[in-house]
């Protein structure tokens, strides 16, 4: 009887872990749910920014329909700008980052100072980075001084052709260190044995790089790309401060599109619908890429 009661009084095994998670769960999921309900509601109304919410008119899915199918929609154009921006930043960052990681992956005095220095661009206030970028890319700024010294040409970085690329260059400066540091950490933890075996078998260094280093690094490269993709897709501050989405729509990536639709055109409904799309795009791309990465990891 006594043991029976003791058993009955014992707390169920899931109780402790559940109770410990409850505060975090409540805070985060309540905030998310509250925001989500408002966001979805705002995306289905017609409302001018600045007017009180009670003046909103129900619009159903009109905002989504307009964004996706209306002949005057600029949503697809902003997706194109976003795609150019994503590819324009991630590809060079990966390639340059990998090369510099290989360069740093040697025994050399001061290596820890170098890696410390590479942290700095990533932790600077993005809004200030944007402002500084604006000055550096001005007609008589730092960047044009270098291009003129090297090629004799000063570019109009503020123009529609180059503005997005100026923002891309700022991102490459800020975030190539991200690839450098993570890939360097990966290179330093590669197993030694396969490389020794390859050397014994007479493989050249280039061969062992292509057939060993690259495949072994692939899952980490994928992880790094996924993390950066999430960040680049939601990047707002630097582009906003540098160009505000302009000139025209040259730098209107999706986050800038949300801002311009909501605050400049004062259309809360369409802005919120675009926000929902951005969330869907980020989450679904990430899920797909994580699945893909895990498959690669599994096969490797």
């Amino acid at each position: 009887m006594a043991t029976d009661r003791k058993l009955r009084r014992r707390r169920p095994p899931w109780l402790a872990p559940a109770l410990l998670i409850v505060p975090a769960f409540l805070v985060v999921f309540a905030l998310a749910a509250y925001s989500a309900v408002w966001l979805l509601q705002l995306s289905m109304v017609k409302l001018t920014f600045g007017d009180p919410f009670r003046t909103a008119e129900w619009a159903g899915l009109d905002n989504y329909q307009w964004l996706l199918f209306n002949e005057f929609t600029t949503f697809w154009a902003s997706l194109r700008v976003t795609a150019v921006y994503v590819v324009g930043t991630l590809v060079p960052e990966l390639i340059i980052g990998f090369l510099i990681a290989l360069l740093l992956n040697r025994k050399m005095r001061g290596n820890s100072i170098f890696t410390a220095a590479l942290i700095i661009p990533m932790v600077l206030m993005p809004s200030m980075v944007g402002m500084v970028g604006r000055l550096y890319f001005s007609p008589y700024g730092l960047i044009n001084y270098f291009t003129e010294s090297l090629t004799g040409i000063r570019h109009n970085w503020y123009g529609a052709d180059l503005a997005l690329w100026a923002a891309v260059l700022v991102d490459i400066w800020e975030w190539t260190p991200f690839f450098i540091l993570i890939l360097l950490a990966g290179l330093q933890t590669l197993p030694v044995e396969p490389f020794e075996a390859a050397r014994v078998d007479g493989a050249s260094r280039l061969q062992s790089f292509i057939h060993l280093t690259l495949p072994l690094m692939l899952p980490l490269v994928m992880t790094t790309l996924i993390l950066r993709l999430m960040d680049v897709l939601r990047l707002f501050d630097v582009i906003f401060v540098m160009f505000g989405g302009g000139p025209g729509t040259a730098t209107t990536t999706l986050p800038l599109y949300i801002y311009r639709t909501t605050l400049i055109q004062r259309d809360v409904g369409r802005g919120s619908a675009a926000s929902v799309m951005l969330i869907i795009i980020i989450v679904s791309l990430t899920v797909i890429l994580i699945k893909l990465r895990d498959r690669i990891r599994y096969e490797a």
């Binding site: 559940a18 408002w38 600077l124 604006r134 280093t213 501050d237 990430t286």
Partner: protein, 279 residues
């Protein structure tokens, strides 16, 4: 590896110099920014740019402290960053422990749930938050930003710190419990001190994130709770951009963050990857 081939070809001296050059190139824009804070307007706009030969001036620093009241915005940023960080850590430690030490159903599902919420872009919900703040009469307040940042900070802290707890052998706690300590006491006396470094690093990284945050703070504050990063709007005046004060503010605003970041640099790779990769 293949680097060794190159080294044989070109000599390691060359690669050393190349490394130094590459790192210097990444540092240069920052150094130039800081030096510009001490330049007169004329020197800032000189073409070709002046790199080192200028007479330093403190006029811009005097200007932002006296005319722009930058201390007020630093105070706001500090309040919001400190309290949001403390709350985050307080809420996240129990959850972290739960994820690291217990086995239960849907554990990884819940953990990924947190991670996916962390991915929600600030800009995509900031206008919804703007309406929420209005409906709660919390527009332009510190407390609203402190709480809102938890949405991103708590998942981040859980993912970061989980790795630190999992790195501490569970046997240490178990042996304390065999000696009669309760689970909580074992945690408090053994695991908590051992994860203190990880907690401090996580806290510093969260502080940096909040200190730098722009998209949410910019649209949710106007006068009372305005933070440092959002002061950039003040430098864009009708008579052009006030570059000197902007550089001075950027210098002061980035200084604590750079120092903090260098303090926790050995945690930085975990920090960048949500604990997925150890440095």
């Amino acid at each position: 590896m293949k680097i060794a081939d190159l080294r044989a070809l070109l000599g390691s001296r060359f690669l050393d110099l190349l490394t130094i050059g590459v790192v210097a190139a990444f540092l240069f824009p920052y150094i130039f920014m800081v030096s510009s804070a001490f330049k007169t307007r004329l020197d800032t706009f000189a073409y070709p740019p002046i790199f080192f030969q200028f007479t330093p001036t403190l006029e811009h620093f005097e200007n932002i402290f006296s005319d722009m009241n930058i201390l007020f915005y630093m105070k706001n940023s500090t309040i919001i960053a400190v309290f949001s960080t403390l709350l985050t850590i307080l809420i996240s430690i129990p959850a972290t422990y739960s994820f690291a030490r217990f086995r239960f159903r849907y554990k990884e599902g819940v953990a990924y749930g947190f991670l996916f919420l962390q991915m929600v872009p600030g800009i995509s919900i900031v206008f919804a938050l703007f309406f929420i703040a209005g409906s709660l009469n919390l527009s332009d307040t510190h407390i609203f930003l402190i709480v809102v940042y938890l949405l991103w900070n708590v998942p981040y802290a859980i993912w970061m710190m989980r790795g630190f707890v999992e790195g501490i052998p569970v046997e240490l706690e178990e042996s304390a419990m065999v000696d009669g300590a309760s689970r909580f006491k074992a945690f408090r006396l053994i695991t908590l001190p051992l994860m203190a470094g990880g907690i401090a690093a996580t806290a510093i990284l969260i502080f940096i994130g909040v200190w730098n945050e722009f998209s949410v703070a910019f649209f949710l504050t106007s006068t009372e709770a305005r933070t440092m990063p959002t002061t950039i709007a003040f430098f864009m005046t009708h008579s052009g951009i006030k570059w000197g004060p902007m550089f001075a503010t950027a210098t002061i605003g980035t200084l604590p963050v750079v120092i903090f970041a260098l303090l926790v640099r050995r945690y930085f790779i975990s920090a960048l990857t949500f604990g997925a990769v150890k440095g």
